[in-house]
């Protein structure tokens, strides 16, 4: 894997996710990120950015979300930044994976996936912006 970074701005529109995933894949291939890692990172970014787009803004038109990705020293670090309402997705209640079908909730699946797919996830509110950072080790 090669060191490098990319910054991607996406409009607050779920149709942008496909373009985001394409750009992440291109970046990953250019930097020799293993395809399994790319798959996990793309899915995590889909969940995080989609959450911001759907729930972060009162009026999503004209707003945007910034994704930064950096590869270095056996690790990929990705951050999702937005200036929408303060929201820490890590406070979302985790789904009860042991619950029987009839008691399984529909909520919390996306955040659970992000936590499971990534090695570390952190949130901060910096300067009126939400910053969600995920890390994935590359073996």
């Amino acid at each position: 894997m090669h060191e490098g970074s990319i910054s991607i701005h996406v409009a607050a529109d779920v149709r942008e996710i496909e373009r985001l995933n394409k750009l992440v894949r291109q970046f990953g291939e250019l930097h020799d990120v293993p395809s399994r890692t790319l798959y996990a990172v793309n899915l995590a970014l889909d969940e995080l950015v989609t959450n911001v787009i759907l729930y972060g803004f009162d009026v999503p038109e004209g707003r945007q979300v910034t994704v930064k990705i950096a590869t270095a020293a056996g690790e990929l670090v990705a951050s999702v930044m937005d200036d929408g309402r303060a929201f820490n997705p890590l406070e979302v209640k985790a789904p009860d994976l042991n619950a029987p079908l009839e008691r399984r909730d529909l909520g919390g699946l996306g955040v659970h996936l992000v936590r499971s797919l990534m090695d570390a996830v952190s949130y901060s509110r910096d300067d009126e912006r939400n910053v969600l950072t995920v890390r994935k080790r590359i073996r």
Partner: protein, 116 residues
């Protein structure tokens, strides 16, 4: 999204294409719930083409399984690619949903068998 339906005996087999995301999920949900509303009680979703699913798509499987089981029916999901099966395991769906390796096994699980 492309959704193909095929009735085999009393089993409805729904085959989906490669991408089940936030954009595709509403049409998929509408179709599956529509089939249940139309009286289908044995449902197979064939995922052999599916390469990518996010939480919006996963919710549709959960919602469909809940609804059909409440009505005494059963949903079987078959032919998951390894990368998609990993996601199903991660989210605990392999514990609460019937997953079959292929269409034949899915039919058997529903008490039906493939035509000779």
């Amino acid at each position: 999204m492309q959704i193909n339906e095929q009735k085999q005996g009393d089993v409805m087999i729904v085959a989906i294409d490669d991408h089940l995301d936030t954009i595709a999920a509403p049409a998929f949900e509408q179709r599956l719930l529509g089939l249940i509303d139309g009286g289908e009680r044995k449902l197979i979703v064939d995922c052999s083409a599916l390469q990518y699913v996010n939480s919006a798509g996963l919710k549709v499987f959960l919602l469909t399984a809940k609804k059909i089981e409440t009505l005494g029916g059963q949903l079987v999901i078959c032919s998951l690619a390894a990368s998609v099966l990993m996601i199903f395991e991660m989210i605990g769906f392999t514990r609460i949903m019937k997953i079959a390796p292929n269409r034949e096994e899915a039919l058997l699980a529903l008490g039906s068998s493939a035509p000779a």
